[in-house]
């Protein structure tokens, strides 16, 4: 992107991450695992303005490696905008001229919100593995505290892809009256054993790295290698057979012919190495362990007895979207959510978007998503008599 056109009309421009701290002792937050945690700091960003009627707030929920920085740029020299910049901004699907958009780093993250990387005030050392296990419900509880702090009394909508969708589901279950509508994208009510298996391989790569030291690597050499491998595995699961054919084929990088050695020569290999190396610079190994486990434990059917009972008290209008080539969070899992909501006579729609991008589609299929999200949000402002509020 040209520097002069960087902050074009579709960009929210320069944004800043803000912080909110609560749960100071002795008022620590009680977690689902029974342990108490506090103080808790939440990193968040907001775009647009909360209307006088306070009826235009939309909460964006990020996925495993995301953060509060969903749109715009932190500095004029940033190479990349926020992670969902193609969807959030003036005139975009989440139109910042119309809506008040909030995105926060979830509890247990390593992007400003309290997590295992944070220094424990009681010991003066990083929490590391002494950090309690966080659940999706805990994350949502913290997000609700942020809403209260921001004076948001109800959400016009919320949207989350992948692990963000898990939070979205928990939101409509825990705070039905607070959430008018929800968009659950490429998500699930529980991971498949296949997805848990990939998570376990990633965790194993980290915990067998000699630098991991049972999670106590702060101020020392970090388990780079393990975290990079975990990310490489993750990336394979985010793509699809077709998208890998299209993106890399069997092309070689910097070579005309096979070298008959073990250097990485296929384009797909160098891509994965690059992704792994990049990830190590911006993410934390223990956090990766915690968050993948958080996802593995998420299971609405087991928590509530059945998926049908989980959705019993939902009042939000729900839109579930999946992508045809997503084999990590496959369409059948989205359909299970829709089926259970329909069994409860809830207002739910389901869209299955044809895409070859695999799980990554939720970040890449902006054009498709924009059309759907725009239609969905526009209608929320229309009352039963067809008049716009």
């Amino acid at each position: 992107m040209n520097k002069n056109t960087r902050f074009d009309s579709g960009s929210i421009g320069l944004v800043h991450t803000k912080y909110f701290t609560f749960a100071n002792p002795p008022d620590e937050l009680e977690l689902e695992c029974g342990k108490k945690l506090g103080p808790i700091t939440v990193a968040y960003e907001t775009y647009g303005k909360l209307s006088e009627k306070k009826d235009n707030a939309i909460l964006i929920l990020h996925a495993l490696s995301g953060d509060a920085h969903a749109a715009g740029y932190h500095t004029a020299n940033d190479k990349q905008p926020g992670w969902w910049d193609n969807m959030i901004g003036p005139g975009k699907a989440f139109d910042t001229d119309k809506y008040f958009i909030i995105c926060s780093n979830f509890l247990g993250g390593c992007k400003g919100t309290t997590g295992s990387i944070t220094v424990d005030k009681n010991t003066g050392r990083n929490y590391g593995l002494s950090f309690p296990m966080i659940t999706i419900a805990d994350m949502v509880k913290v997000q609700k505290k942020l809403m209260d702090y921001l004076g948001v009394q109800s959400l016009l909508s919320l949207a989350g892809g992948s692990m963000g969708g898990m939070q979205g589901l928990e939101w409509i279950i825990e705070y039905p009256d607070f959430v008018k509508s929800a968009m659950i994208i490429a998500s699930t009510s529980r991971l498949s054993p296949q997805a848990i298996a990939f998570n376990e391989v990633g965790r194993n790569a980290i915990t067998t790295d000699p630098n991991w030291h049972n999670g106590d690597y702060y101020g020392k050499s970090i388990p780079r290698h393990g975290l990079a491998i975990a990310r490489m595995i993750g990336h394979i699961t985010y793509l699809s057979d077709i998208s890998m054919h299209a993106k890399f084929g069997r092309r070689l990088r910097e070579r005309e012919a096979y070298g008959y050695d073990f250097s990485s020569e296929f384009e797909v290999e160098t891509y994965l190495h690059h992704q792994g190396d990049k990830f190590v610079e911006r993410f934390d190994a223990n956090t990766y362990l915690y968050l993948t486990k958080t996802m593995d434990y998420f299971d609405l059917a087991s928590k509530f007895g059945s998926l049908n009972s989980a959705f019993e008290n939902v009042t939000s209008k729900v839109l579930v979207m999946s992508f045809t080539s997503d084999w990590l969070f496959p369409p059948y899992q989205s359909k299970e959510i829709v089926k259970s909501l329909m069994n409860n006579d809830k207002d739910v729609s389901y869209v299955e978007i044809t895409s070859s991008y695999g799980h990554d589609a939720f970040l890449l299929e902006a054009e498709h998503l924009t059309k759907i999200v725009t239609n969905f949000l526009d209608n929320l402002k229309v009352d039963k008599n067809g008049k716009k509020n």
Binding site: L319, K335, V338, K339, M342, N343, D345, D347, V348, S349, Y350, V351, E352, I353, T354, K371, I372, N375, F376, D378, N379, L380, V382
Partner: protein, 209 residues
């Protein structure tokens, strides 16, 4: 299921279907297109309605109308829906584009207490005449396609449908013949010739009125 073309939606049918459907009932509209019928059923009859549609452009229009819609292929069945969970399951001008009409109808009667089915009548005299006098594949307002591009693959007549119901122990609760002099049609044989469309309300349950 092939895509239903928008021009194939007949507004005369809408009025008939809306008049049949009872106030405040629960309705599932299969192949709901842009959701026009569903939207009107909700507005006029206060139904709790849901649609199933295969085409994404149509789905978008449904979502824009605020409807509950499920993107799916009805030829794959209605496994997302529980037995007798709807008062009406509607298949409006879509039967002839399904690959497995028998299976689709069976699924409709499993999920709905009643099913409303409408289709272009292939025994309509204008169709017979084209085939008889011209020797060409018939094209009419209700079946406007050339033979090589038509989505209509399971064409049926009013007589065929009645026989189908009898053979499959399906009870016909109501039949409406749409076409020339529709009000005076008493004989089914005549209806089969003079009607461009047939509209049936059917059920598989004995407990229905």
């Amino acid at each position: 299921m092939a895509r239903k073309i928008e021009s194939l939606v007949f507004h005369a049918d809408y009025e008939k279907i809306i008049s049949i459907v009872e106030q405040d009932s629960k309705v599932l509209d299969l192949g709901c297109g842009t959701g026009e019928l569903l939207f009107r059923l909700i507005r006029n009859k206060n139904v709790k309605g849901r649609g199933v549609e295969i085409d994404q452009a149509n789905i978008l229009k449904c979502i824009g109308k605020g409807l509950s819609v499920f993107q799916g292929n009805i030829d794959e069945g209605l496994k997302e829906y529980q037995d007798k969970s709807y008062d009406y399951v509607i298949l409006n001008q879509t039967l002839q584009v399904t690959h497995k009409p028998q299976f689709v109808l069976k699924e409709m009667l499993r999920v709905g207490r009643k099913a409303i089915v409408s289709f272009p009548n292939f025994a309509y005299w204008k169709i017979r005449a084209q085939l008889f006098f011209h020797g060409t594949m018939p094209k009419t307002e209700t079946l406007p396609f050339e033979w090589y591009e038509t989505p209509n693959i399971k064409l049926v007549t009013i007589k065929d449908f009645r026989k189908f119901c009898k053979d499959n122990k399906i009870k016909i609760l109501q039949e409406i013949f749409i076409g020339d002099n529709e009000k005076t049609l008493r004989s089914v044989c005549l209806a089969n010739i003079l009607s461009s469309e047939g509209l049936f309300v059917i059920t598989d349950s004995c407990a229905t009125d």
